[in-house]
Every structure is written in structure tokens, then in C-alpha cells.
Point group: C2
Chain length 305, copies 2
């Protein structure tokens, strides 16, 4: 454990709120003590734990997949919305919305087993580079958040990802990047079908949406998968507002954090106009709902690893 | 760790298969070594971890709930299938099947928040007694299985329950009885709805079935919730067969165990004729699928705590 917790965070109300919450729930005999088994922290992923601007990491993955698929069927690159992916035409892609994007990703992988998908995804993460940052996509995670995840775990918290992204995709990197085991990732998903392949049962991804894990669905999925109201939640968009309110309104000490991307120089500045995952209502109502706003510019000493 | 693992298990092929599997996956550098993060074990609950004969624990709970509800509306006790519950009329109840029973339980609690349901369930477990065994229902768990859960965890396994029973119900006792945290229970569930109650968001149980966690659904839910093929699975009925085959057919060392209730003297003897959760195909095909049959009579020194 570092002498000063969260060294990449500047002194200020956000850092203080985190350190204070942890001290209160961990203090045995204190009025806000929470047994370790109940110390659950849930994090959104895109834009909260790693970069999502100008495009979701999973969007870049899909663009490369479409190029691979076009090797067999070149016409795919001429059809929308695939054309927009290949050309990194963010405006057209944003107009699809987050759910439209998720469904597209899912359609591209229907009929494949979860194990086959994992092989393709791992190969992509091992070779692809982020066009803006020039590094592997596993390195666009935010360093202050990696510290926060570690700090919470050192203090007995179990850390979860609750993402609108595809659960199979995020599980590929949750352990190596965030130290979060696959089973602690909740995300958007398709229904799975059990099928016999070479005499053994495998799980096949169907095209049918199981859950689009955004807004109220994040709360419903926390109930289904975890069955406890978390003590801390962290998000960055209106898609996280339901989860932040659910967590903050539990009894005892709770902390809801909202990341505001306001640092064009070091990363990106966006909120209301980011169509993929806008931040408007959550920002306007943060005070009213007791949500702590974290400013990239003010609260983070560094942004990336 | 006890000097001899699994003291309530008799020497024999079942105990040897377990000890051998654990030794192989834990041996660093060995060809069957499995890193701790991937050591997942999934257990059915009713009839595998605790008694289900002559009636499911959740059936007794429902019977008592119906009596409570009848205080407000006495006609409920005269209507089937509620009448059968109150009268512990197992024959009529068995004819409903396991899914019918699950749906009934869910209907009885629709409109309630998950937190309200938990209060009712906890109060019941604290006071109700099993009519056959005369002990609290938390004491009808099988001692050899409690030892097995502990033994697996001592060897780096993460233990899960994958049950056809209601997930909210089983989560009430998973930690105190089995040492399994709530979030490691996968079960049958209704869809949840987020609702504002006294100004704060709560999760409300709807009457709509989300998942009936039996047969292939157990495998699908393992994919959704855990995202890894377990190394060991334990069941006791045809409802567990898909899970046992899924686990056993993974690469490397795997173990699928099937409990056969063949001890009328110490517990109960039933298989093909137990309509609620029959054991027929799994027993007939155990050899072919490489499933290890565990006999209560032969393999267990004691049955209960």
C-alpha cells in the first residue's frame, strides 16, 4: 500500500470524499462500518475506467472486424453502417446510439461460440493500436482509476464493472488491465444457446439481445448478478445516473462519483453533445442527488498510465 | 485444514476422484495446473447441498407464506394449488413440476422490493422448523458437502450455487450455511423493475419470469454470470445434466459429480419417480458422459450436520 493513497489524484473534494468513505466503512465499531462481504463498488467502463472519445474501444474493434469480414464479402464495406465504422465516421456512428452500436457488434458475432469470440478478441487486443494515442488499447485506461480500484480492494472492497459494452469483450481485458475477474463484469449481452460441437456442449452467441446494460438496466442487473446495493459507484454519463442514485440512496455511508471529461489538452472535453453517451441530466442534478463530480482537469494529476 | 480431507466421506472412488482432481489442478508446473482465478466449482442446491425430499425447502416456505396471506384472504387456502401447499400434499405439488412451483413462488411475491422479500425470508428461516427433521431449515444441509465446499475453497476454488430455486431465497442462507457470498448464487429469477419509493430507487420483483434456471439454462447462466467453464460441477438430477456435461467436456482436468439419494434409512431413497426433480437420464448415461456417481449410502459417513 502506498504511503499516500491515490497519488495520481490531486487534493480536493473528490479525493477527500473517497478517502473519507473508505475510512468510515472500514472503521470497526464505527457507526458506518460495513463488513467486507458487503463492500461492493461498481464502475462503468467506457469513459469511466478507460477512454471512449472519439470512439468506444469496442467501436474500433468492430471496425477492424468489418475489414476482416470484407475480405470474404467486399460489399459489406459499402453498406451503412459498416462503411461508417471502417472510415471512423464518428458522426454517423454516434447517430446509431449506444444500443444500436451494441446490437451491431452482436450481429457480427452471432453463431460463434463464446470461446471462438474470445480468441478473436484476444488476438485483436494483442495487435491493434489506438489511432489517436498510438498505444495498445489496453493502455487507454485511466491511471487514477487503476489506483482507485487497487485502493478499494486493499480496503476490502470487491470491485465490479457494470458496462453498456459487450460483456464478452470487456471480460477479455478486465483481469489484465483492471485486476477485475471475468465473473465481476456485468455488461450488455446476447442470449446464449447450448449446442453440441464435435460431441461436446458449447455456448453459442445468438443474435437475440439478452440485456442492454444501460440506465435502469444497470440497477436491475446489479440486483440479478450481485444481489446487494453497492457502497460506491462511479460513472460518467446519463446512462450511469440510475446506478449512481440507487447506490447513493442506500442506508449508511455511500458514495456516487461522476467523471466529467473537461480536459481537452490531456484527453478530451465533452458532455452534453456526446451523442453516444451524453452527460447532461446527471451533471445538472448531481448536487440534488448528492453525486460527487470528479473533474479530469482539476482532480487528476495524470490521465493515462 | 484437517489432516485428512473430507472426513465425512468414506474411502472410495468418489472421494478419490475429488482429491485427485484437486491435487492435479493445484500442482504448479503439472500438466493439469489451473491458475486459482480459473478454479470455479458450481453446485446445484436442492438435493445436492441440502435436503429436497419430501418437499423443497422453498416449498415449505411458500406453504407458510400462503397461511400468512390467508389471514387476509381465507379463500386462498381453498384454491389449488395453494391448498396443496398448506396441506403438504406432495403428490399434487409434484404434478406442478419445478417450474410451476417456481412461478407460483414468484407470483406470491410480485410487487414487493427485493429488500422487503429478504426481511420476510430471514424471519422465516429464523423461526420455521422442518416437519420431518424437527430442526431449522438451515440445518438440513449435508455435512459432507459443507466439507467439500470448504476443501475446494482451501485449494483456491471459488464456489458457486447454480440452482433452480429462487435466487433471492437461496441468497438469504448461502453465506451463513455454505460460506458462499450472495453474488456467487445464480438461480431462477423474475425480472426486476426500478421504482421510486419514498424518494429513493428500489428494485421491485415483477411477476414476469426472467430465467428458470434448470437444464440448459444452467449452462447459459454460467456463461452470462461467470463467463468461464467450471472445473468441477455437482448435481443430483436430470436438471443438472447439461451443466455436468458442459463442465466435464472442457479441456484439461474436470470433474462432474452426481449425487444419488439411495439411503432411505438416513435420508431418502428416490430417483426416477421423483417428479419434482427426477434422476433418470443422468444416471443411465453417467458412464458414457464420464460423470462420477456419488452414493449417499456408500460414500457418506454421515448425512446431516
Amino acid at each position: 500500500m502506498p504511503e499516500v493513497p491515490l497519488p495520481s489524484w490531486n487534493d480536493g473534494p473528490a479525493r477527500s470524499a473517497i478517502v473519507d468513505l473508505v475510512a468510515r466503512v472500514a472503521k470497526e465499531g464505527g457507526k458506518d462500518y460495513v463488513p467486507p462481504a458487503e463492500r461492493i463498488a461498481t464502475f462503468d467502463n467506457d469513459g469511466t475506467l478507460w477512454n471512449e472519445h472519439p470512439m468506444l474501444v469496442q467501436g474500433f474493434f468492430l471496425a477492424d472486424r468489418i475489414k476482416q469480414l470484407a475480405a470474404k464479402d467486399p460489399s459489406i464495406k459499402q453498406r451503412q453502417p459498416f462503411k461508417a465504422f471502417v472510415e471512423h465516421d464518428f458522426k454517423t456512428l454516434q447517430s446509431l446510439g449506444k444500443q444500436g452500436l451494441a446490437e451491431l457488434v452482436f450481429a457480427t458475432h452471432a453463431g460463434m461460440s463464446d470461446e471462438e469470440f474470445a480468441d478473436i478478441g484476444r488476438a485483436w487486443f494483442a495487435s491493434a493500436k489506438h489511432p489517436k494515442y498510438g498505444c495498445p488499447f489496453t493502455q487507454v485506461a485511466f491511471r487514477p482509476q487503476l489506483e482507485l480500484l487497487g485502493y478499494l480492494r486493499e480496503n476490502g472492497f470487491k470491485t465490479y464493472i457494470v458496462t453498456g459494452g459487450g460483456v464478452d469483450f470487456v471480460r477479455l481485458i478486465s483481469e489484465p488491465v483492471y485486476g477485475i475477474p471475468r465473473e465481476q463484469v456485468i455488461g450488455s449481452s446476447v442470449k446464449l444457446r447450448v449446442e453440441m460441437k464435435d460431441g461436446r456442449p458449447v455456448l453459442i452467441k445468438t443474435p437475440e439481445l439478452g440485456s442492454f446494460d444501460d440506465r435502469e438496466a444497470k440497477v436491475q442487473n446489479i440486483g440479478l448478478h450481485i444481489g446487494r446495493r453497492p457502497v460506491l459507484a462511479f460513472g460518467n454519463s446519463d446512462g450511469d445516473l440510475a446506478m449512481l442514485r440507487y447506490v447513493k440512496s442506500g442506508p449508511g455511508a455511500r458514495l456516487a462519483l461522476l467523471l466529467h471529461h473537461d480536459d481537452a489538452e490531456r484527453e478530451a472535453a465533452y458532455d452534453r453533445e456526446f451523442m453516444l453517451s451524453p452527460l447532461a441530466e446527471a451533471l445538472d442534478k448531481a448536487d440534488e442527488y448528492g453525486i460527487t463530480v470528479v473533474s479530469v482537469k482539476r482532480d487528476w494529476k495524470v490521465v493515462f498510465r
